[in-house]
């Protein structure tokens, strides 16, 4: 049975040695959707992303992707099924060149064997000129763009974005938003984005989950998502 659902999580529990951070998290994303997860610091957003890609084990509940249970698969096998991941802090390999960092994105989607950097270059032209430069010598904003380009170079079906705006100047946040929107519209890329930047959420997301204490406490449709004051109440400390 394969409907329009691309990713579902049911009763997800996960965390660290001190205890569970996610305490029964549920979510469901259809193909072609851009969905955001909102919440204050420390409510489990990054834990959620790490659990979905497989860097943290699923302690209870399950994750279904393209109709199959992937909860027990290691991260590399999930990536090869077409999940692109951009972690908080971007995860650029500092000693590797921009070109090699981009090449590392080429193993994400095993069905698609033609990594194509051109789409990324058209949005982030500096990448083309700096292919021989080491990743670690790029600025924070440039690293964020490189990390997103790397995750998308081999046309994944799902993109997991963990706070791409963190520590990035506003003009670059706008470029990132435009790029994600473009790929969503032209290729039906499905995106799950954890964010605190309201502008970016409103630019890209069609709906949102509000996360608190490891559970979903509210669903926001597009209309309520555009109500900036309302959204701000979920992010304020």
């Amino acid at each position: 049975m394969m409907g329009t659902e691309l990713l579902t999580a049911t009763g997800l529990r996960s965390g660290y040695s001190i205890g569970d951070v996610l305490q029964g998290f549920d979510l469901s994303i259809d193909r072609g959707e851009v969905v955001s997860v909102l919440g204050r610091n420390g409510v489990g957003k990054t834990t959620l992303m790490k659990t979905l890609i497989g860097l943290l084990p699923t302690r209870a509940g399950n994750i279904r992707y393209q109709g199959e249970d992937i909860s027990a698969l290691p991260a590399d096998r999930r990536a090869r099924r077409g999940i692109g991941y951009v972690p908080q802090g971007r995860g650029i390999f500092p000693q590797m060149t921009v070109r090699d960092n981009l090449r590392m994105g080429g193993f994400i989607n095993r069905d698609q064997q033609t990594p194509d950097p051109e789409v990324a270059f058209s949005f982030f032209p500096f990448l083309r000129d700096r292919q021989r430069q080491r990743g670690g010598t790029l600025s924070g904003g440039q690293q964020a763009m490189l990390a997103i380009a790397r995750a998308l170079i081999n046309a994944p079906d799902l993109l997991l974005l963990d706070e791409p705006s963190d520590g990035v100047q506003p003009s670059i946040v706008q470029d990132i938003g435009a790029f994600v929107r473009e790929l969503n519209q032209s290729r039906q890329l499905t995106v799950l984005i954890v964010e605190q930047n309201i502008d970016l959420i409103q630019t890209v997301a069609q709906r949102a989950y509000v996360l608190d204490k490891g559970r979903v406490v509210a669903d926001l449709d597009r209309e309520r998502l555009m109500d900036t004051e309302h959204v701000a109440t979920y992010l304020a400390v």
Partner: protein
């Protein structure tokens, strides 16, 4: 003519010194330089290479084939150690140091028990070349060529192949590499196995120049660590080449005029000074230079 043969002789001395350092360091470049494991069993892996070579030579194999067998056998032993022991200690450098020390004791004492204190040595292949008053060993000329070839092959493997790309990514950020589709457990095993295999390969190549004994590995450990540490971790392969050239540039003239012992003292002093001036090694200095070049474009 007198001067010409002197120049050739000094160049030959320099080449053998640098090749010796590189050969000692080969496996450690991978295991210490890339995986950051202080592998105290490095000398014993080289000893195993020498033993494998000696045993297969006695069994009638031609020497080049013995070297290949040593690479495979010790590489396999390395893979087994990685699976059973070493993989539990990634990211815990001091524990890994103690564990590899334990492995080294196990290997050397075990060898003593099984094979006794000596194994028949392997005669040095090739004859000698006379240049003026000096005589050069053909075998050492071959070792110089082989060490250059292996370093080039290693650089090719790490910079030009998918395995190399995955290995570099895994060593820099294993979690991120996994999240991008790399089977990092496999990469760790292959990398450690390659490092062990290279140590066995070097041990086999140096076997004709040494006495084949259970504790022969000790003599290679210090040169290996000095070469890799002076080279630094920024780019291990370029660093090891740079440091073996630099250290041999110091050792060769001192050794030539003041004797081999003072040459060794000069090498150790040079290592001390280089590490004091460039704490991150020769390759970090090279990298700063190349970063400036890449950014100015």
């Amino acid at each position: 003519m007198e001067e010409f043969s002197l120049v050739i002789s000094v160049a030959y001395q320099f080449g053998t010194n640098a090749a010796f350092l590189l050969l000692c360091a080969l496996g450690l470049i991978v295991i210490l330089g890339m995986m950051n494991i202080i592998n105290l069993a490095h000398g014993e892996l080289m000893m195993m290479g020498a033993y494998t070579a000696s045993l297969s030579y006695q069994a009638g194999l031609p020497f080049p084939l013995c070297v290949a067998v040593s690479f495979l056998v010790v590489g396999f032993v390395g893979a087994v150690f990685e699976r059973l022991v070493v993989r539990r200690f990634y990211g815990r450098e001091l524990s890994a140091l103690v564990v590899t020390w334990g492995i080294s004791l196990l290997l050397s004492q075990g060898t003593l028990m099984v094979f006794g204190p000596f194994l028949p040595s392997i005669p040095i292949p090739g004859g000698s070349l006379d240049v003026g008053a000096y005589s050069l060993s053909v075998y050492w000329l071959i070792l110089i060529a082989v060490s250059i070839a292996v370093v080039v092959a290693l650089a090719w493997l790490y910079n030009r192949t998918t395995f190399g790309l995955h290995a570099r990514a895994t060593m820099q950020d294993a979690a991120m590499a996994r999240a991008l589709g790399v089977n990092t457990g496999r990469i760790y095993m292959l990398t450690f196995s390659l490092g062990a295999g290279l140590a066995g390969f070097s041990g086999a190549l140096l076997a004709p120049t040494a006495s084949i004994m259970p504790f022969m590995g000790q003599q290679f450990v210090a040169p290996a660590f000095i070469t890799v540490v002076v080279g630094g971790a920024a780019n291990v392969i370029a660093g090891a080449v740079g440091s073996s050239v630099l250290l041999s540039l110091v050792r060769t003239p001192v050794g030539f005029y003041l004797g081999a012992f003072l040459g060794l003292v000069a090498l150790l002093l040079a290592a001390l000074i280089i590490i004091r001036l460039m704490p991150n090694g020769v390759s970090a200095a090279l990298q700063r230079w190349s970063d400036r070049r890449a950014q100015s474009h």
